[in-house]
Symmetry: C2
Subunit: 150 residues, 2 copies
DNA sequence: ATACTATTTGCGACAATGTCGCATCTGAGA
DNA sequence: TCTCAGATGCGACATTGTCGCAAATAGTAT
């Protein structure tokens, strides 16, 4: 189950030392899908290496983030106040969270790129990545009581 | 110095009890401008009421957020891991933070609305607000060493 | 295969940020 | 002025993340 080969290769190319623990965290990341919390990774990782330490997970996440291989989200704190991580894909996308049921959806749209272009041309800031989190009500929750808007 | 009348009125309309402490927090919010941390509000508020408690600040912020009167940001954790608050204006805007110097800029753009419309039409989620945080390098930082892209 | 060494890990202590229960206090309506 | 639902202050606690340092180890050289 050699998961996340993409990340493994990226790390090799950058001469990052591949420790057992880092492989474990990468595995856990690959298995866990999007929107994982650090603590989930710790728990998942400990299935493979029971001695895996909390600090190691955090340090690995920080390292991956520094290399631009993962993104850190907080999904509007709809649930708790921790952070979520996901492998960084080809392009940025929008996270949409329902304020009532907490469900999170993603949306890929060319408008995101248009926005980044606009940022560059108006401010001169050269964007490296974007985090777009939309607070919303999902169709189900909005349907149930469409009348009371607030 | 009756600041933030807009917020005061909004709270009155909603029959929220206007305590001395809440006025103090609103004042502190108005004085402090955008991107304030809870701790800053506490310190600023204590100038007006030395007994103002941390829990009260947090509870007031939670209340304001629930009423949609302020937004909570984390500005990509460019500096620390706390949260920032700002009074909610007429329309959502983009926060752009430089990963090197930490400077934060804002950008208002009609593209934001276009993005929300797209969210609605593609996912059925009805957006109530958006938080857009762009990671970038500001012109100064990018200029200094434009060669080393990484 | 073994030795070497810079890096990484585990550990435990700590820091920062936020939350909660409960006794007391108070804003605002009657 | 009286009243009481709701807000506050306080202190204890929870969660999330960080750090220093001794021990372990990946990757390289021998």
């Amino acid at each position: 189950m050699a998961s996340a080969p993409h990340l493994l290769n990226a790390l090799k190319e950058r001469n990052v030392r591949l420790t057992r623990q880092r492989r474990v965290v990468l595995d856990a990341l690959a298995v866990s899908g999007n929107h994982v919390r650090a603590e989930d990774l710790l728990r998942e990782g400990r299935k493979r290496d029971p001695n895996l330490d909390r600090a190691t997970v955090y340090r690995t996440l920080a390292m991956l983030k520094e290399h631009g291989l993962i993104d850190e989200l907080d999904l509007l704190h709809l649930d708790g106040r921790g952070h979520y991580y996901e492998m960084r894909g080809h392009q940025d996308h929008v996270h949409i969270g329902c304020t009532e049921c907490g469900r999170v959806t993603e949306l890929h749209s060319p408008i995101v790129q248009a926005l980044l272009d606009e940022v560059a041309s108006h401010t001169g800031f050269r964007a490296t990545s974007a985090r777009i989190e939309v607070q919303a009500r999902c169709p189900e929750c909005a349907g149930g009581n469409a009348r009371e808007q607030r």
